[in-house]
Each structure stands twice: as structure tokens, then as C-alpha cells.
């Protein structure tokens, strides 16, 4: 079996994989990084979004072998070393942007990318960017609100808690 090596959350990681092993399988089963979730098998739900060389990627859409030499960040690599959450993570908690937590890692990873590309997105831009992330619990209200808050926008006028 071929061997792959990559940098995951700042540390070198390697392992043997089958040619058909998906990146998400390598992360979950090979490296034990179970924060990245699998919610579908057609690359629609976005629960498995990670960053590959700084770009958001659905880890179910690429083979582990394709990430050879890449720098990968997963949800486990977003908070600081001491556990301090990022502004996006913090805002999700403050504004109740998650319920069951299953889609949350992908939502956070997409939101982090969005704010890197567009530091103060409008409501419509946020909703559009999240097209590839499905949440069944929150009705998206508090996710959108949390991302607006994380970008420094005033969300006090948005209805409800």
C-alpha cells in the first residue's frame, strides 16, 4: 500500500493507505482525528470540510494520496494550543449556532474560510457561501448570526436570541 505524508494541524503525519482511501477516512481512521464528520456520500453535506493548503475542501471528495505533501487543518487545529477558541468558534457558542454538533466542524471550517476571503460578509453572502454545508438543527438563523458577529458586525438588531 502506498504511504502518504502530510502536515496535519502543524504536525507531520503519515500512514499507509489504499489508493481508494479518502482523505476523510485517513484523518478519522488513520490519524484518529474524529472531529471531521461524514454526513453523506455525495459531497453535499459539508460536515467533512477541512482546509488543504489554506483552502476549504470537502475531505470526502479527495483521496488521501492527493493530499501528499499538503498542509491540512482540521477542526481540532482551529483553537489555540491552550484551548482558547477562535473568534468563529466563540461566536458559535455565544449565539447558539449549533445544536447536535454534527455539522458544526464543517460549518466552522467553512466560516473560517469565508472570513479569510471576505472579512465582513453580508447576510446574503454568508447564506450563499454556506450552500455546501447542511444543518438540520438550527434553521441556520444562529449560524448566520454567529458568523456576522465573528466578523465584528452588530447583530443586536437581528431578531431573537
Amino acid at each position: 500500500m502506498p504511504k502518504v505524508s502530510m502536515t496535519v494541524n502543524g504536525k507531520p503525519a503519515s500512514g499507509e493507505v489504499e489508493g481508494r482511501t479518502l482523505l476523510v477516512e485517513f484523518l478519522r481512521d488513520g490519524l484518529g482525528l474524529t472531529g471531521t464528520h461524514v454526513g453523506c456520500d455525495t459531497s453535499q453535506c459539508g460536515a467533512c470540510v477541512v482546509h488543504v493548503d489554506g483552502k476549504p475542501v470537502k475531505a470526502c471528495t479527495i483521496f488521501a494520496a492527493e493530499a501528499e505533501g499538503a498542509t491540512v487543518t482540521t477542526i481540532e487545529g482551529i483553537a489555540a494550543e491552550d484551548g482558547t477558541m477562535s473568534p468563529v468558534q466563540e461566536a458559535f457558542q455565544t449565539h447558539h449556532g449549533l445544536q447536535c454538533g454534527f455539522c458544526t466542524p464543517g460549518m466552522v471550517m467553512s466560516a473560517e474560510s469565508l472570513l479569510k476571503e471576505n472579512p465582513t460578509p453580508s447576510e446574503a453572502e454568508i447564506r450563499d457561501y454556506l450552500e455546501g454545508n447542511i444543518c438540520r438543527c438550527t434553521g441556520y438563523h444562529n449560524i448566520v448570526k454567529a458568523i456576522m458577529a465573528a466578523s465584528g458586525q452588530d447583530v443586536s438588531k437581528i431578531a431573537a436570541e
Binding site: G35, T42, Q93, Q99, F102, P105, L130
Partner: protein, 787 residues
């Protein structure tokens, strides 16, 4: 005042682990030495199994063992938890639901064989080498055709495809028929309540483990109610007593009803782990979930609403065909009956009501409760027909509702339930305020100016939650009690662990439940931890569904905490050398009334476990209490919802511009969490009304079997919602005065969406459009506009 007591929007403590990738979902559990199972599932809807040749597959790399229906033929089937009695007093027809298909396959997705192998991929590869020889039979798909004489039968050993023909209340039928005959006006509506797939984002997973040296079984599973799974699977399928079977449901990624039921895969993994003497893991793929998770709704209904000359409702008569699918899922028979028929009074004082439901077997995936479960189906037909009646009579739909609202409580409906409290005018008033009805005309003009149509739809709703009084549901056919349990374990240094039979899979119990105990004891919520989801830890409990957790589980926790307080007061009385009748508990301090003598919470808890100065002759050491709470009635959350849509007349595309929800949930523990529950329900209700449709073709092939074809609501399909729960008429029969909030959004929202679209059509002059079936896709709306 305690920090984070009742009424505080406390931030959720469970969030940090979910936000940092440290949740512990069932698929995150891997046991050393585990094998993997893959299920080979039927790709035809109906057929006779002639043989299943597993010989080639058995020789494939990594294959440990292959199981077929023969291996389970002598075992019990997957049980049904509710027996409905039909109009004529006969029990429903109840077929066996084998763990693996035996003799016949009855829906696409019915498992034919289970391949256990060293790796997931090897199991999947071997499945492709199995050669089932199946003779196709005609697929039974249309419910009305299915119950005609001579129709192909889904189950050869039943007399027909009719599970039951239920009438409620049968004795009312004559009076209802008479009232309709004598009515000044009757509005009739035929509609479909579209079949949905619940689609919790976490697919189901089961890991079975067995310890041969002790005989102990453990099942890790994605369940809303691990104790129920332990009972159903242990007692009815595998014959394992509770003390040798542990069921653990750790972090669960959403349920919405679909994870209530005992599924064949759970029984398989538990059983196979013993047979091969290794842990066995199954992880469902999303495509597999579509053909194996219980579906929801799927009713075909005719409703008639009769009114007198003054527009008072005089009668409601309904006839519904309810799809059961191929087998009876755990609570399937109760959904179109007791959770649907009993709600047909809605918020209105209609004196005569008769509900007929024909439940039908078809060659489709079993159908069971999905968020709301029977109550959305009741609300939808009633609130649609009222809107239609208002239009036919030329009266304002809100005024017609208000005129017929129940305004005096308690109110006994003609469909056997008694509403304890409510104020439907108050929620309607609040709705009109938060929905800015006053500004609608201006928004309508603005839409028109851009060439768009606009409509406003409203509805009321009521639901019955907090299920349920055990003796009552027992009379109605439930094969379970529906109490809840809690153990409050106070530790020596004052911290508390609460073990609850409720289960949290997104509802935030770990945060909200401690708020209740904190309020009662006057200590900070951070001193209280919730344990749930493990049958070895919590006492027998019935789990979470039907918006029951705070109303029933919360009440059990209150009762257990009351016992703690009573005992703690005795200990404090001893320490203070006073009578326990004189002890008051406030802000975590026990004091003697009228004096400045007091002891702190921690002094009392320490004394309970280090009983040196302690009344040992009168009182046991320790401070731990358990309570089981069985509710005396359902709770009745209610509210009023409004949807405002804009429609592109060129394409028929509907966009939800505004959505407002004014709910009465009684008392509220954590307003932030309650709002979140409503938001999520609204998106599911809007999804049903606008996007979601589980489609089968006439051969029983599921056409919408992945996210490529089944349209889940995305962030850009919904607006920010206006929600309010300041109208509060507390429940009168539970200690917290709470009603439950989990399902309201999904129950209350579909009718207002459809009412809004019909309103827009009417305003635009399409007066022939009085109804469009859900989902309101651009194609359906555009086609309707073409006449």
C-alpha cells in the same frame, strides 16, 4: 440568586467539545479487534427470495462470516410498540419484521444478507459477490389501490394490506354526519401530506460488543432512547435480560424521531458480536439511510369543515390514508391515530369531530414519527381548510379563527383530550406585532413594483406534548409506560450528578437541566452535571421525543431534587439543633427561620457522607434520590405563525421573505435554547412546504435517494425568523409549568407557507388556485398559474 437558574439564556456547556472536534459520536467509537458489517440490501421493492448464494463471497479476502435471513428465522422479529384497535374492535394486522429478510423482500433497502469482514471495504467488496435469486413481484405503491380486493399483498400471511381502519370517536360519527348535512356551508379539501426523510445529519451507527467470560453484551448506538432499545431488543428479539445488556447512546447527531426506533442493524451487531466473539461495527452511509431510516408523514387526506350561518364551526370530518410502509416501525401505528386524531379540534371549539384513518402496507420503507409526528398532519389539514373556508365565505381568515377559538380552560375536546391552559388570541396578537402585519401593504406594493407577487399566510396550531400518562396510553394500545426517571446524586463536597432517562441529541439538556436544579437549591449551575444515554448509569427511562424531556424528564428531576431538599433539611436541622420544619433553604444556605443560624450547602452534603455529627438512628447517611414521574395529562403548547412569500410569476419560484412565530410554551427554562428549537423546527416545516419530497416510482424505486435528489433546506432557502415566546400560560399539572418546545416549529409552519402562496395567487387574480400540494416547487406553482 443562583447563577444560571431558570430563565437564564445560559450558553451551552456542550458546545466547546462540539466546536473543537472533541465530541464522542458513535462512529468515533472503535473497539480493539472490531470487525465491520455491510448489509446487502434489496434493489427491488417486492420479490420472492428463491436463494441467496453466498459461496463466492465467503471466499473473498477478509470475510469472517456471512449471515442471511435463515440465521434469524427462529428469532423474534423487530417488535412494534403500539397496538391500535380498529373501528370494529379488532386488533391491527401486525406482520413479522425479520432482522434480515426471509422469504420475501418488501422494500428497496430491505436487508438480504450481512457480510462481516476485517475491514469495511472488504465487507463491501464481498457484498458484490453475493448472488440473491429473487423473483420480482408487483410493487404495492398506491394506498387506495392497495386495499382493493385482489390487490397484491405485501404480507402473504395477512388478510389484506389494510393494517387497520380506525374511527375516532366512532360514537360521534352519526352526529358529525348530521351536522355536516345541516350546515350552512361546508368546505372540502383533498390534500397530500408529503412523505419526508428525517435526515438527522449524523447517519445511524451501531457497535456491538460481547464479553464471553461474563456474558455481558454492550451496544453503542445512535439512539434517542437507549433504555427503550435495551427493552425491545433484549426482550423481544435476542432474549437478553437487562442486567446482561448495556446500551449506550453517546453524543447523537440529531434524531427528529428517526432514532427512536429499534432497528434491525442494532440487533444484528449485538447478536453477531457474540457469534463471532468480536466487536461488530456498522456505519450507515447516507444513501443507505434513505432506504433504511424510517420515513415520515405520507398521508392522503380529505377534510370537510362545516359552518353555521354565523360562521361558527359545527363539524369536522376527515378521511386519511396513512402509509405504514412495508413493516410496522416501533411507534408507527400510533402516529396517524392517537397523535393525529386527538388533535383535530385544533385551537377551535368545533363540537362535532370524526376522524377516519386507514393505515396501509406498501412496498416502501417503514414510516414512523418525524418531528411533530401526526400533529403536523392534523394542523396542516385543519389550518388549510379554515383558510379555504374564509376565502369561500369572503371573511378575514384571522377573524374566522378568532371567532372560533377556544377561550375558556380547561377545555375538553370532542376528540378525548383536555387542554389545561392556553390563550390563542394572545399569541395571534403577538404574531401580528412581531410579523409587522401593519407593514404588509407597503411590502406588497414594493413587490408589485418589481413585478413580483406577494402573499401573507397565517395559522394557529396546538400540539399535545409531554407524552404521556402511562395508564392512559396503555388503554390506547401502547406497549410501554411513558414516565421518565431521574437520580440526583449529591456528592460529599456538594457537587451534583443528575442521571436522567431523557436523552440529549441537540436539545442542550446538559445546560438546561442543571438550571432547574440550580434554581431549586440556590447554587450555581456549574456545580451540577448531567449524565444521560447509558443504561448502566441512568435508571430506566423512556428517552427523548414528542417534546417530552423538560415536561416529563424535567419533572422527574424536580421530584428527585425535592426529596434531596427534604433530606438535606433534616440533616441541617440536626446540625443547627432545630426542627426540620423550621429550616429554610435559600441561596444554598440552610437557616432556622427567624434566626441568624445557618449552615451552607457544602456543610450539609459533607455531613451526609462523613456522618460523625449525624442523626444515624433516624436517617441513613448519603444524599442520593431517585424519582419516576408519570404525567397526569399531556401538555398543550400552542401558537400562531405567519409566513410572507414573494413569487416570481415568470418561473413560479417562491421565496420566503419573512417568517414569524409566536409560541406559548408555558414557563421557559432557557430562552436561547427555546428559540433555537423553534428556528430548527421552522426550517424543517419550511423544508416540507417548499423543498422536500420523498419520491418513489411505480415500481417502488426510491427516486430521491441522496442529497443529489432530496432537497434539504440550505442557508439561502430561509430568512432570519422573528420568534417570540413571551405569551406564557403555564401548564397546570407539572411542577415546572412547562409545555415543551421541540416540535412546534415543524408543526406550525407548513400551513402558513401554503396559505401565503395561495394568498399571493389570489391577490394576483389567479382566483382558481385554492390549493397546491406541498412541496411548492417552482414547477408546481408555475403550472398552477397556467390554469
Amino acid at each position: 440568586m443562583p447563577k444560571d437558574g431558570i430563565g437564564a439564556s445560559t450558553k451551552r456547556r456542550e458546545d466547546v467539545r462540539f466546536l473543537t472536534g472533541n465530541g464522542n459520536y458513535t462512529d468515533d467509537i472503535n473497539i480493539r479487534g472490531q470487525a465491520y458489517v455491510h448489509f446487502l440490501r434489496s434493489d427491488v421493492a417486492h420479490g420472492t427470495i428463491n436463494s441467496v448464494d453466498t459461496s463466492a463471497a465467503a471466499d473473498m479476502p477478509g470475510v469472517i462470516r456471512i449471515f442471511t435471513g435463515e440465521d434469524f428465522a427462529e428469532m423474534g422479529g423487530i417488535p412494534c410498540g403500539w397496538q391500535v384497535t380498529d373501528r370494529h374492535g379488532a386488533p391491527m394486522q401486525e406482520p413479522k419484521h425479520p432482522v434480515l429478510a426471509h422469504g420475501k423482500v418488501r422494500h428497496v433497502g430491505d436487508p438480504i444478507a450481512a457480510i462481516v469482514a476485517e475491514t469495511r471495504e472488504q465487507a463491501r467488496d464481498a457484498a458484490e459477490a453475493i448472488m440473491p435469486d429473487i423473483t420480482d413481484l408487483p410493487a404495492v405503491m398506491d394506498m387506495k389501490e392497495a386495499i382493493k380486493d385482489g390487490a397484491t399483498k405485501v404480507h402473504d400471511d395477512l388478510t389484506s394490506n389494510l393494517c387497520y381502519d380506525w374511527g375516532f370517536v366512532e360514537e360521534n360519527k352519526g352526529a358529525v354526519d348530521e351536522a355536516i348535512k345541516n350546515a350552512a356551508h361546508v368546505t372540502t379539501l383533498e390534500l397530500v401530506n408529503n412523505r419526508l426523510v428525517p435526515n438527522a445529519m449524523e447517519p445511524r451507527v451501531a457497535v456491538g460488543d460481547y464479553n464471553r467470560s461474563t456474558g455481558d453484551h454492550t451496544l453503542y448506538t445512535t439512539s434517542q432512547n437507549p433504555h427503550v432499545i435495551r427493552l425491545l431488543m433484549g426482550a423481544f428479539v435476542l432474549g437478553i435480560p437487562e442486567h446482561k445488556l448495556r446500551v449506550v447512546a453517546p453524543d447523537v447527531g440529531g434524531g427528529f424521531g428517526s432514532k427512536i426506533y429499534h432497528y434491525a442493524e442494532e440487533a444484528f451487531c449485538t447478536y453477531a458480536a457474540k457469534v463471532i466473539n468480536r466487536p461488530v461495527k456498522w456505519t450507515c452511509s447516507r444513501s443507505e439511510a434513505f432506504i433504511s431510516d424510517a420515513h415520515g408523514r405520507d398521508h392522503v387526506t380529505k377534510i370537510e369543515l362545516a359552518l353555521d350561518k354565523d360562521n361558527n364551526f359545527t363539524a369536522v370530518r376527515t378521511e386519511t390514508y396513512a402509509n405504514m410502509g412495508a413493516y410496522l416501525s416501533t411507534f408507527a401505528p400510533s402516529i396517524p391515530t392517537w397523535l393525529h386524531g386527538t388533535l383535530m379540534a385544533g385551537n377551535y371549539k368545533t363540537p362535532n369531530i370524526y376522524v377516519n384513518v386507514k393505515a396501509v402496507f406498501t412496498n416502501t420503507v417503514p414510516v414512523d414519527a418525524y418531528r411533530g409526528a401526526g400533529r403536523p398532519e392534523a394542523t396542516y389539514q385543519l389550518e388549510r381548510v379554515i383558510d379555504m373556508a374564509a376565502r369561500e365565505l369572503g371573511v378575514d381568515p384571522i377573524a374566522l379563527r378568532r371567532q372560533n377559538y377556544i377561550t375558556e380552560f380547561p377545555y375538553a375536546t370532542p376528540v378525548a383530550v383536555e387542554y389545561d391552559t392556553g390563550d390563542y388570541n394572545a399569541t395571534m396578537d403577538k404574531l401580528m406585532e412581531i410579523g409587522d402585519f401593519a407593514g404588509f401593504e407597503a411590502r406588497l406594493a414594493e413587490s408589485k413594483a418589481r413585478g413580483k407577487l406577494r402573499g401573507l399566510g397565517v395559522n394557529s396550531y396546538i400540539e399535545a406534548c409531554g407524552i404521556a400518562p402511562s395508564n392512559l396510553v396503555g388503554q390506547l394500545g401502547a406497549r410501554a409506560g411513558l414516565y421518565e426517571s431521574a437520580t440526583v446524586r449529591v456528592n460529599a463536597t456538594g457537587g451534583i450528578t443528575v442521571m436522567t432517562g431523557s436523552h440529549s441529541h441537540g436539545q442542550g439538556h446538559e445546560t438546561a437541566f442543571p438550571q432547574v436544579v440550580a434554581e431549586m437549591l440556590g447554587i450555581d449551575a456549574s456545580m451540577i452535571e448531567i449524565e444521560h444515554g447509558d443504561t448502566d448509569k441512568a435508571p430506566m427511562g423512556m428517552g427523548t421525543y414528542g417534546s417530552r424531556s423538560i415536561a416529563v424528564g424535567g419533572s422527574a428531576m424536580v421530584r428527585a431534587t425535592e426529596k434531596i431538599i427534604a433530606k438535606a433539611k433534616k440533616i441541617a436541622a440536626h446540625l443547627l439543633e432545630a426542627s426540620d420544619a423550621d429550616i429554610e433553604l435559600k441561596d444554598g444556605q440552610f437557616s432556622v427561620a427567624g434566626t441568624d443560624k445557618s449552615v451552607a450547602w457544602g456543610d450539609v452534603t459533607l455531613a451526609a457522607y462523613v456522618p460523625h455529627n449525624y442523626p444515624l438512628e433516624d436517617l441513613e447517611p448519603g444524599l442520593e434520590e431517585t424519582a419516576f414521574y408519570d404525567p397526569s395529562n399531556f401538555t398543550y403548547p400552542s401558537g400562531a405563525y405567519a409566513c410572507e412569500v414573494e413569487i416570481d410569476p415568470e418561473t413560479g419560484k417562491v421565496s420566503i421573505e419573512r417568517f414569524a412565530a409566536a409560541d406559548d410554551f408555558g414557563n421557559i427554562i432557557n430562552p436561547m435554547i427555546v428559540s433555537g428549537q423553534v428556528h430548527g423546527g421552522l426550517a424543517q416545516g419550511i423544508g416540507q412546504a417548499m423543498l422536500e419530497q420523498c419520491s418513489y416510482d411505480s415500481d417502488g424505486q426510491l427516486l430521491s435517494a441522496s442529497y443529489m435528489d432530496y432537497t434539504m433546506p440550505r442557508a439561502d432557502d430561509v430568512p432570519f425568523y422573528q420568534v417570540d415566546h413571551s405569551c406564557q400560560t403555564p401548564c397546570t399539572h407539572n411542577p415546572l409549568g412547562v409545555k415543551g418546545c421541540g416540535e412546534a416549529g415543524a408543526i406550525g409552519s407548513p400551513p402558513s407557507v401554503v396559505n401565503a402562496v395561495v394568498d399571493a395567487m389570489q391577490r394576483a387574480g389567479h382566483t382558481h388556485i385554492t390549493h397546491i400540494d406541498m412541496p411548492l416547487t417552482p414547477s408546481r406553482v408555475w403550472s398552477a398559474m397556467q390554469g
